[in-house]
């Protein structure tokens, strides 16, 4: 069965603090907040501001953006845990909010923060999960043993999960999500806090699941992960989708590809025009820190020209940073901000 995902102009406005994964780190809308307070001081947080997307059946799709972009809220809505304020979403042919119960049968969810059942052992977490989905006793045990083995958890299978490391909990979360053989897998920031080795194992597990023809939607703020794992990506910021495409297409869409970020004590009026005349420079933008960002088709070889332009305008450069074509630059180009800011 081929199951894709479709999202049509979703909006979500929280009137009380969001309850789910968005709370995990540094508050619901880390970074810049979109607070609007009425006279009654009621909180109104716009988490999604008209998001439309289509995830094809059988692809690994990434939602890339900084904290507060609305990634967790999008996943929350698609996994029936958050009610959309406006708009609709479909998993296959099922409309998510209307057909919640049927949707839950199709999806597997790996949350941002491990929410394993701490009162149970690792094996029980898997078998009870399968029982919630109506799997018979023998089938439950067989699948649990198989997944524990594949996720390298067999030796700890009958222990309570308190003492598990972050990576083990994450692996068990994924194993649990796979217990009922879902068609679509959602992973919210799956590799946060994992060591590089576990991250590679995780990527392999995701690719494995995908190779069986299943759809994967994952969120991340890690460009390397998005680049390495995803067939297509959507870049989100402040509850909107800024760009959609394959990692390669997206990187190509940045004018020039290279970004040279310049910091000055002050920027004379004529300086941007002077820098814009340098061969290879395609665009000059003011950066939020008060300097200038040059989008160009080359990096280091521009520097002598930049220095002479600055000297001609009597400006003193106090920092230069060159970055090569990357999703980071793409994000910077569209939002004026770094993903890490």
């Amino acid at each position: 069965m081929d199951v894709g995902i479709r999202i049509d102009t979703l909006r979500k406005i929280y009137t009380s603090p969001p309850p789910t994964a968005a709370l995990a780190r540094g508050g619901p809308m880390g970074g810049q907040r979109l607070f609007k307070r009425s006279e009654k001081k009621k909180v109104s947080i716009v988490a999604l501001d008209g998001v439309s997307l289509e995830v094809h059946a059988g692809e690994i799709f990434g939602l890339l953006g900084p904290n507060g972009a609305g990634k967790s809220t999008t996943v929350g809505i698609l996994t029936t845990r958050v009610r959309p304020t406006e708009g609709k979403a479909w998993i296959g042919t099922l409309e998510v909010w209307r057909d919640r119960v049927a949707v839950k049968r199709l999806i597997g969810v790996v949350p941002q923060k491990p929410n394993l059942d701490f009162a149970l052992t690792a094996r029980e977490i898997l078998t009870y999960h399968a029982a919630y989905f109506g799997l018979g006793g023998a089938e439950r045990d067989r699948r649990a043993s198989e997944l524990l083995d594949r996720f390298r958890l067999t030796d700890r299978a009958d222990q309570m999960v308190h003492g598990f490391s972050g990576g083990m909990m994450q692996r068990l979360s994924i194993a649990r999500a796979l217990m009922h053989a879902p068609q679509v897998l959602f992973l919210d920031e799956p590799s946060t806090g994992l060591d590089p080795q576990t991250r590679l194992l995780l990527w392999e597990l995701i690719r494995d699941f995908n190779r069986q023809g299943h759809t994967v939607l994952l969120t991340t703020h890690n460009m390397e992960e998005a680049d390495a794992l995803c067939h297509r990506l959507a870049i989100a910021d402040h509850g909107r989708v800024i760009a959609v495409g394959t990692p390669h297409e997206l990187k190509q869409s940045v004018p020039g590809g290279f970004v040279v970020r310049l910091a000055f004590h002050d920027v004379p009026e004529e300086l941007p025009a002077l820098l814009g005349q340098i061969p290879g420079v395609t665009e000059v933008q003011a950066s939020p820190s008060g300097g200038l960002d040059l989008y160009a088709d080359r990096g280091g070889t521009l520097i002598p020209h930049v220095v002479s332009a600055a000297a001609a305008a009597h400006a003193t450069i106090h920092d230069i940073h060159i970055s090569e074509p990357s999703l980071e630059n793409l994000f910077l180009h569209h939002t004026g901000r770094s993903l890490r800011e």
Binding site: P19, N115, G134
Partner: protein
């Protein structure tokens, strides 16, 4: 409604309760038993309380033990789940309407309350010693009462657990549960409040009153007690109110 999922969740709660049987028992029963010992044994044996007080106290102790264990069995995991662990999310994602997850919790909490009631009777009997005048002449009334009190306990637990945060657990005991116990006619019959007419009317908004008075009428009818229709009427109304409130709060917490 998905019966398989519902039963699997009940089995999960049963597994966890069996694993924690002793700590749960101690958590719920040590205080009532200390109370039974001091007021039912020490005070009566020393002559500071009449012997009859034992029989008056026991129904109240059964009520309070059931209410506290059922309430805590639901409220504590709910508070933890909705505050930080979100362990319940696994069950919210089961292919079943989420309201049934809450109802399952109420059923599981109710069963724990019934077990607590079942354990407390022989224990208190043992501690109180001779002179106890308890009758089991109305078994059907007793069972119906026990079931209503058990569900009430769990429904109150659901309401509190989905309305309060971790930081408010202390407040919950000192400002909500404490007064409910002491104005719940657990240690004295409702008729004893006759000299405080306003208070006597006011305590009728306390669901604990109907539980203690109900057990008193079923087990020790020789003492004055609220009439049966008021006990059952009160329990039914409070069951409905707390189930409705609890489900409403649960829905609010569970869905963003």
């Amino acid at each position: 409604m998905n019966l398989a999922a519902f039963l699997a969740m009940l089995a999960r709660d049963g597994r966890v309760a069996r694993r924690n049987f002793l700590p749960l028992l101690l958590q719920n029963l040590v205080q009532p038993m200390l109370f039974v010992f001091v007021f039912g044994r020490v005070m009566t044996t020393s002559g500071m309380m009449p012997q009859e007080y034992k029989s008056l106290l026991l129904p109240g102790i059964i009520a309070i033990s059931m209410l506290l264990s059922g309430l805590q069995a639901v409220a504590f995991p709910m508070i933890a789940d909705f505050q930080f662990s979100r362990e319940i999310e696994d069950r919210l994602l089961a292919p079943m309407e989420i309201e049934w997850v809450a109802i399952e919790k109420v059923v599981a909490g109710g069963i724990q309350a019934l077990v607590a009631g079942g354990v407390v009777i022989p224990m208190a009997w043992l501690i109180l010693g001779s002179g106890l005048q308890i009758s089991f002449a109305q078994p059907f009334e007793l069972v119906a009462l026990a079931v209503l009190v058990a569900v009430l306990a769990a429904a109150i637990g659901l309401t509190l657990g989905c309305s309060l945060g971790q930081a408010q657990i202390g407040i919950m005991f000192s400002l909500i549960i404490g007064p409910m116990i002491f104005f719940g006619c657990t240690y004295y019959p409702w008729s004893a409040l006759a000299s405080f007419p306003i208070l006597q009317k006011a305590v009728l908004i306390n669901p604990f009153v109907y539980a203690s008075e109900g057990f008193r009428s079923a087990l020790a009818p020789q003492f004055p007690h609220l009439p049966g229709y008021l006990v059952f009427g009160g329990l039914l109304v409070f069951n409905a109110v707390f189930l409705w409130l609890g489900l409403r709060q649960f829905r609010k917490k569970a869905v963003g």
